[in-house]
Symmetry: C2
Subunit: 132 residues, 2 copies
């Protein structure tokens, strides 16, 4: 259905990938790629080339970035392509887990909506729970 | 106002802390501590002791965990204390940034609400933006 690319400052992307792989073990439905941005390197052409190379591996792709307005999001936004390449910022573990276990589905737009909703529902505050 | 403890599987907590420190540079308003959980170690008593030691450093504390239902959340929940220790799962960079820059404020409950709202608002989908 779609591949996943996580782009963040530093090695956050690698740790997010490791967490998801650990939690899902062998139930991972799709490929996860990562690009770690070093702000000091300023090798933005290299990063753009890597994004391009990733995107040709599948018809549909979701790029997850750490925060809107940061370099990882800024270098991703030019690759947005309606219905084919989506970019979601504010990545966290529940968001990636949902993206990884979604069954194949022809509707890419619906998949993105499901991932974002699931993420927001899984930001849970202990004080709001009945156990509190 | 409050200290921050990030508890996650693996080194995700360290990378989240590094990202926030890098982005905010010297504008960090509060202390961030981390506990990295190794599921294989099963040293849950050690982890609990470390949480206890962290919590005595400030009157108010927020514990951020990677996902609800995982070990980091499960070992944190017993430390929930209404109005003093809050636990928020689904941690991401925007959530931590907001927590780090919040001005001192006597209302701990309001601070938690602001952090969670800010996080949800900062999960942004490129296809929903006007630029799309």
């Amino acid at each position: 259905m779609f591949n996943i690319l996580i782009i963040t400052h530093g090695n956050l992307c690698e740790e997010l990938k490791s967490s998801v792989e650990f939690i899902l073990d062998n139930k991972l439905n799709r490929k996860i790629f990562t690009i770690s941005i070093d702000e000091d390197s300023r090798e933005f052409d290299t990063y753009s080339n890597r994004i391009s190379n990733f995107l040709i591996e599948a018809n549909h792709n979701i790029i997850f970035t750490d925060m809107f307005g940061g370099t990882p999001s800024n270098i991703s936004l030019p690759y947005f392509k309606k219905g084919f390449v989506e970019i979601i910022s504010g990545v966290n573990v529940p968001m990636l887990l949902k993206a990884c276990v979604l069954e194949n589905n022809d509707n890419f737009y619906e998949a993105v909506k499901i991932i974002v909703s699931s993420c927001k529902e899984n930001i849970i505050v202990a004080g709001d729970l009945e156990i509190a």
